[in-house]
Every structure is written in structure tokens, then in C-alpha cells.
Amino acid sequence: MDEDDYGSKGSSQRSNGKRGAPSSSQGSGSQKRVMRDDDESDQDDHAPTPIRQTTEGFKTLNVLPTDFERFVKDVVRLAIFSSHSESATVKRDDIKAILGNHTKVYDAVFVSAQERLRNVFGMEMAELTTKGRSGKNEEKGTKSYILRSVLPLDLLGNEAVDWDDQLEDQGLLMVILSLIMVREGVIFESHLKQHFRRMKLMEEEGEIEKKMEMFMKKRYLEKSKMEHMDDTGDKLEMEIRWGARARAEIPEENVVRFIQEIFGDDAPPKLRDIIIKASNIQTTTTAQGNQAGDANGNGTPAAPAGSSHNAIRL
């Protein structure tokens, strides 16, 4: 939307102070001297002319439109290419690094980048959260984001294209997430393994552990030492929960529908209600637009709504 004003594409010039209207009559000398903006950060190597009048939205930001555009582009590319790294996260610090000394425009850049991501890719950055353990559903923000799709498609259509060569893993993950969800968010590792045995999944030696480790590395699952002893009283149990990435990427709605699909035609009446009750999850009507990153970039990462159903929050 603001792109008409931005002339040059091409290499960033934010490191030298010579861009912008060179109307400084005193010649260059020290760039800081002629600063008319009461800018706290003395490191800014701005051109000496005040930038306030350039463009409407940038009145108080002290950043040239071309630079702002550069930042937005670089943040978008950072997000896109981060999805290839192991952790697939975008750290807030990395974004700040792009801004160099202009950290004041972080929020504005973030919002623009999100918009660009949605327009071009149908994706957005969602903050990964750590879930409070004390039984309350508080979520604390970590300072990192993952990229997730916000296209309004149902389960099969969307992921089939994306996960292509990993359909098996995705299916397995959905099974695990469902098992966890209908137990109100937590399952013992031993119980999970029992389920696998009953379903005759991953009977090979060590296969379960490998897959679980992979999911944990990708942050789809979390393991933790449990807070209570198990039945026999002496073995220490591990608890498995949804990981931060699952919370951000996979709306519970999808899991509910996954379960329904498995039942298929054999579904008991009101299966959906049964699932929701067992999972003890809330249904909230949240419009899709509200959640994604508010100005602080701290937007509560409610999962995007499925097509016509209400969004469900864990």
C-alpha cells in the first residue's frame, strides 16, 4: 500500500549518513551536530535534515520511507528463510538486528511485515508461548515467533500440499495431539506408548523414541517430569504436552475434526460435544483478524479459526 512512494529498490544504504535530501548548508562535518530531532539515540547516522515532514505515517518515526521499506522486506525474508532452520523460529533479537539503530520503529515494521506476509504468502508470525504449569492457562511470551499459515482451508486441503513427503509424520503427530487433547492437555509417556502398542504403531526397536524426539526438537511436543507419582509408586513418569509450536500452528478445531474424521461414519451422535467436553476446552468466538500480532508484537497467539466453526482455545 505504501509502496508507491518508495523509489529505489536495491541495496540498503542504511549504514551511511548520506541518503536523504542533502540540503545541509554547512557541509557534512559531524552528522550529529545538525540533528534537529530530539533523538535520544546518538548513534543514528541520519542525514542532517529533519525527516518529520516526509510521509504521513512516519512523522514521528525519524526513518526514511526507503529504509522503512527495506526493513519490512528484510524482516519478511528473515521470517520466510527461518522456516528452514532447525528450530524454525524467528527471534525477536534477529528482527532487532535488522533494524540496526532504529529500534524505535520495531512495532511499525513488525505490523507492516505481518501484513506483507499475509498478502503475499497467506502467513503470519505467531509468538511461541510457554504455558504456565500451575493448572491455570496463563501463557507467557517467549521472544520468538514461528511462521504459520492463515489460509482459511480445512485440514486436508492445506496440509496435504505442505507436508507432502511427511504425511506419515503429520498423521502421527495428529494422533498424539488428539490423545493429549482429550486428556485435558497432559498424558503420561507410558500411557502414550501403551496406545501405540495397541494400535500396533512403530513396533520397531527405538522407533517411538526417535519420532518423539523429532517432535520435541521441532517443538510440537513437550516433555516434563511429572508432578505426581504414578500408580506403582516407584517409577518416575514423564508427562507429554502440546509444545509451543503446536499451540501456535494447529488450532484445536483441526484436532477435533481430525478425531471426527477418524470415526467417520461410525461416529456416535454428538461426537463433537463429547470431544469438547472431554478436552475441557473453551469455545470462543474470535474473529480471525483480531489475534494476529497487535502493535506490540505481543498478540496472544490464538489459533486461527477453522473455516466456519468457532475458534477453540486451549
Binding site: S85, V120, G122, L153, A160, D162, D164
Partner: protein, 280 residues
């Protein structure tokens, strides 16, 4: 020319492209048709029964022009973030491949994500050695590459910490991530991905050494050259094949002398790479 509308089909396709980043054109076309399907609003059951029945994704017939126009529309949108989907042909196989690339890659670091500065430094050394190889071979032996690791020096001229085994591991990562190719004889050369994604870097940094195919004008590190030493004509294998397909008497496109395609650019199929590395 009607301006293309940009829809969720485009976005879905793009998301699939992002996760793969580099693929054969055939794969891309499949993704295109599946993206069309997915966004046609088919219910899960309908899509599933289609998959079951046909065992294939090519249900929606489409034609070449549609696909090209589709990719153009995606690129028009990608332009706003200085990315684009580029198309080229694999030098070894002649396959058409697509890759998502930066349009202004000035630094390797921007392109090859997931490597530390030290690793990138090593990569740059290898690139340099490969491009500078004698006789337009555009390759080095893996042994030489590993030995090269010990010669890495940082700005203060102190040795950098890359052991031989570290270098070997790193090499296999480069190969796995498709930046380098290793031949049966252990020769390392530039992959199609590197040629595509680091084009600007290579062309600008190695103006003299990088050559173009006389016919298609794209970068060339594997192919054939004119028998006449002074003639600059160079051709990709696949370009030569098409060009000389119906010619009884193959002649060089530049100097018209007989062309037998036996003088090679890059390493011959079973030859071994040179053991020494020339430095700039």
C-alpha cells in the same frame, strides 16, 4: 494482457514452494494442480475419494500457459519482498528446475541460511577454488577440499578452527543441502542450486572465470566447447543436444568449424578432479 488476480491458490502454492525451496518443474506443476484443487472448496471426503480413485494429484488438467501465467502472478507478488521463483535447467540432467531465490543476493549469508560465519567462510573458499580451477574444470577433489580447511585464516591471519573431520562433515552438509555436488570420483562441483541462487555473487565476483552458454546465455560450468582454442563458443550439454538434433554436420555457432562435442567444460564422467588448488 489481463492482470492476474492474486488468490489463496497462489498463496497455497507459494507456501509449498517455500518448504521445498528447490524442485523439479514437474513437482512444481503437481503442487500447482493440488493447490487449485485444495482451494476449489472440495470437502475433505471429496478430495479423499479423488485421491483414492486416481492415486495421483494430476486430477485437474491444466495447460502450460496457465502454469506459466500462474508463476508470473506469484512472482509479481514476490517482487514486493525481493524474492522470485527462478527457472533454469540442471547442467547434468537437463531437467527444468525451479527455485525460490533472492533477487538481490549480495552476500552468501543471506542465501545459505543455517550456517555459521566460519562455515560460510569455508564455503566461500571452496567456491573460489572451484571457480578458479584450471582448464575450465570447475571442480576440485574432495581431498583437496578437506585439506583446504586447515588453511582458513580469519582477518587477524590466525588459523580458524576447522579440523579435517569437521571439514568432512561440513562438506557432506553442503552436499546434502544441495550447494555442492560430489561425483562418483569424489570431485566437487557447483550445484544447480548454487548457480541459481548465487548467480549475482558469482557473476560479479568472478567476471573472468564465469562463462555463459552461447545459445541460452545462462551460466555454464558443465558442457562442451568449440574445438578451436581461440573460439569462445560454449554450450550446455542439453542445449547442444537440441541445437544439433537434426543437423547432419554439426558446426560451431560462432566460428562455424566442425563441432564434435568432445572437448568438455567441467569434469568428464569418470575423470578425477585435480588434486591441487589454485588460489586467486
Amino acid at each position: 494482457m489481463t492482470s492476474a488476480v492474486y488468490t489463496d491458490t497462489h498463496r497455497l502454492f507459494l507456501q509449498a514452494v517455500i518448504s521445498r525451496r528447490f524442485m523439479k518443474e514437474d513437482t512444481a506443476k503437481q503442487l500447482y494442480s493440488r493447490a487449485c484443487q485444495a482451494t476449489k472448496g472440495m470437502s475433505p471426503t471429496e478430495i479423499r475419494s479423488h485421491f483414492d480413485k486416481h492415486q495421483t494429484a494430476k486430477i485437474v488438467p491444466f495447460d502450460e500457459d496457465d502454469f506459466t501465467e500462474f508463476v508470473n502472478a506469484v512472482n509479481a507478488s514476490l517482487n514486493s519482498v525481493e524474492l522470485e521463483i527462478r527457472r533454469t535447467r540442471d547442467e547434468a540432467t537437463g531437467d527444468d528446475v525451479l527455485a525460490l531465490t533472492n533477487t538481490n543476493e549480495q552476500k552468501i549469508a543471506q542465501v545459505a541460511t543455517g550456517y555459521t560465519p566460519l562455515e560460510l567462510e569455508y564455503f566461500k573458499h571452496l567456491l573460489d577454488a572451484i571457480v578458479m580451477a584450471d582448464d575450465e574444470l570447475y571442480c576440485i577433489s574432495s581431498t583437496a577440499a578437506v585439506n583446504e580447511a586447515s588453511k582458513l585464516k580469519n582477518k587477524d591471519n590466525k588459523s580458524l578452527q576447522l579440523t579435517k573431520s569437521g571439514a568432512e562433515e561440513l562438506l557432506s552438509r553442503f552436499i546434502q543441502d544441495k550447494w555442492l555436488i560430489k561425483s562418483k570420483t569424489g570431485a566437487l562441483s557447483l550445484s544447480t542450486r548454487t548457480l541459481l541462487e548465487l548467480q549475482t555473487f558469482l557473476k560479479e565476483g568472478y567476471e573472468e572465470q564465469m562463462q555463459e552458454c552461447t545459445l541460452c546465455l545462462e551460466i555454464l560450468t558443465k558442457g562442451q566447447r568449440c574445438n578451436v582454442a581461440a573460439c569462445a563458443a560454449r554450450l550446455h550439454h542439453h542445449c547442444a543436444k537440441t541445437y544439433y538434433e537434426n543437423m547432419n554436420n554439426p558446426l560451431c555457432p560462432t566460428c562455424r568449424s566442425p563441432w564434435d562435442g568432445k572437448v568438455l567444460i567441467g569434469l568428464g564422467p569418470n575423470a578425477e578432479a585435480p588434486q591441487s588448488i589454485r588460489r586467486r
